[in-house]
Symmetry: C2
Subunit: 209 residues, 2 copies
């Protein structure tokens, strides 16, 4: 009516800022409704912008999803690699990495659900490849970690072990975020106990702790 300038959000904004806004909005709606059920018109509307702008910046609906996933990927890789720095030994390094991973999935559960629930697969090849790249990155980190204290192990064994760790992490993080009574440290401890000590120790504990 009179002066909407005060409450009204800035109409025009530079491309980089608008792109960040679009990704944030898309991430939220994708996580909320799923990729398929999300309409580009809705994303545009919530950005206070019209649809062709998104296509100008991201090319396609899949392109928008890829951008969201790539963003999360960068954050995760940074968080986990930094966490391992300064570990006192292999066991500590593994545990630090796991805690960082669970903390990350908890803090970014919205964004992360895109990867965990694998929305990318339905979107197309590019999106699927982006998600697979995240897992491969984690596998590579684990292989590097394992090879430092298992220098003589065959490459195949390292790969298999790394895949196991990544798969267990992914699944356990879904379980973890669905429960409010578990902390990231506890989730990491559960995983450490199985991965490091093995189930055999749980079945026949020498000392009834």
């Amino acid at each position: 009516m009179s002066t909407p300038a005060e409450t009204e959000r800035k109409r025009r904004m530079p491309r980089a800022e608008r792109e960040r806004q679009m990704m944030a909005v898309a991430e939220e709606i994708f996580a909320e409704r799923g990729y398929q059920a999300t309409g580009m018109d809705e994303v545009a509307e919530r950005c206070g912008v019209s649809k062709p702008m998104i296509y100008e910046y991201f090319g396609s609906k899949e392109g928008l999803l890829v951008a969201c996933v790539r963003h999360a990927r960068g954050q995760l890789a940074t968080a986990t690699t930094e966490a391992v720095i300064g570990a006192t030994g292999p066991r500590d390094a593994l545990r630090r990495g796991l805690v960082a991973f669970f903390r990350f999935t908890d803090a970014h559960r919205r964004a992360w659900s895109l990867v965990l629930r694998n929305e990318a697969a339905v979107a197309g090849a590019a999106a699927a490849a982006e998600v697979e790249a995240i897992r491969q990155e984690q596998v590579d980190i684990d292989i590097a970690l394992l090879s430092t204290f298992l220098p003589d192990a065959p490459r195949t064994d390292l790969e298999a072990a790394a895949q196991i760790v990544v798969g267990a992490c992914e699944r356990l993080s879904l379980w973890y975020v669905s429960r409010d009574d578990i902390t990231a440290e506890q989730a990491a401890d559960h995983l450490m106990r199985v991965l490091w000590t093995g189930l055999a120790a749980l079945v026949a504990p020498s000392t009834a702790g």
Copy 2:
């Protein structure tokens, strides 16, 4: 020309048979191109039938996918539960289950890719729920297995361990099907070594936990 009856496929067929054919065709095309890129017209054409028939029998595109996934789910549950019967102990039971799982994913890799690559998530809530039901079924089997030889363990510990096993299985099976030089038994052994014995034993084989 003269007698097309011989080479020509049967035009009309009973509903149950047609449904099975549709599911087989859909499973193949979904696995080949992905859910999104698959058109219902194409599925219909490959069945030698028109599109409304699929809608008559499965209701929607998502319904068709759900039927495919549910089919695979039944087969997997049967295969793994049967494999565990007659095991000589907890360790043997776990290993038998794992071998059965990897054999299944290898034999049905087309169908299984629908689940592993999580095409269901993009399809909608019903399909996602169906896939999640598969995982939950496997988790329940593992919990039952673990609880028989860990009667005093807290429920939370059993759940966490089961989630870890399922996640590791899933990821390792993707790795396994991409490599021709690994057998189901070898994949199961890799997983058994980590899950049962633990990584610590690999790091320091001299110390027996």
